[in-house]
């Protein structure tokens, strides 16, 4: 099996756009002052948006079998903020990481289940 990695530049506009399709109004993604009150430097990117990046990479890596046997398990270990580059990588064994300028933000696996 091969590996794949891709870098995404996250902006507040992208977070806002994901919030529209996601249908939420959770101000931790939009309100910088509230985010700071909660101990974060800036509004947080949606976890499922970052996981969405990983799904897209996995779909390219595994092809259409990803739709039938794909299994993705992630933990969000650090926030992703606007104006950060996030590199999503899936290695040969299916280990998944998303790494930003402050370190690893998401870890897990993206693998095919046995046929």
């Amino acid at each position: 099996m091969s590996a794949m990695r891709r870098t995404y530049h996250v902006t507040q506009e992208m977070i806002d756009r994901y919030g529209v399709i996601n249908g939420d109004r959770d101000i931790i993604h939009y309100d910088a002052e509230y985010a700071r009150q909660r101990g974060f430097d800036a509004p947080l990117a949606h976890g499922l948006m970052v996981q969405g990046y990983a799904n897209d990479v996995a779909m390219d890596l595994y092809g259409p079998e990803w739709c039938r046997r794909g299994s993705i398990k992630v933990k969000f270990v650090a926030p992703v903020f606007p104006d950060e580059d996030i590199e999503v990588a899936i290695d040969e064994s299916g280990e998944l990481t998303a790494t930003g300028p402050r370190g690893v933000a998401m870890v897990g696996t993206a693998q095919l289940r046995p046929a």
Binding site: M14, G23, R38, L48, M59
Partner: protein, 166 residues
């Protein structure tokens, strides 16, 4: 078309659920929605992807994680969301492709699996399964773990609203 905002209670609309109110083992009732090419396209734009490059059996298919935008709605319809929730972990298993060029009617339901405290934070874990309506075929299953802030961590305007409607 069913946009997620059509079926998902939004933060601040009603009093958010307190962690103590989640009942382990509780069934999260069926939620039906129609996934359309428009929603798929909008989702894929939001994750910087174009569905034209994904095919299965000669047809365009969606990145299956498009179901993510309906995931929290299954929980929130039974347990309305508090402001400031943060996702801790999420698992998805995909079982069948979703065509990107036609409407697909989907039914989802779930269960509260667990709740626990760790390092001063309160977590809820729940599971969801997504099935195609017309033949009942399983499309995907998910397990999500999220943490919701205590009342004192809510911004003042939301805190006041909670007190008014409690």
């Amino acid at each position: 078309m069913t946009r997620p905002s059509d079926v998902k209670p939004r933060e601040g609309e009603v009093r958010g659920t307190r962690w103590e109110e989640y009942v382990v083992g509780d069934h999260l009732p069926e939620m039906r929605f129609t996934l359309t090419p428009d929603v798929i396209r909008e989702y894929e734009e939001a994750i910087d992807c174009t569905h034209e490059r994904h095919e299965a059996d000669g047809r365009h298919v969606a990145v299956p994680s498009v179901l993510c935008v309906y995931l929290m709605a299954v929980l929130y319809r039974k347990y309305p969301p508090a402001q400031g929730g943060i996702m801790a972990a999420n698992d998805f298993d995909f079982h069948a492709p979703i065509r990107a060029d036609v409407d697909t009617d989907i039914v989802a339901d779930g269960r509260i699996e667990e709740k626990f405290e760790k390092r001063g934070r309160k977590y809820v874990r729940y599971s969801v399964q997504f099935r195609r309506v017309h033949d009942g075929e399983l499309i995907a299953t998910a397990v999500n773990t999220s943490t919701f802030p205590a009342v004192e961590e809510q911004p003042p305007q939301w805190r006041e609203q909670r007190e008014e409607v409690a």
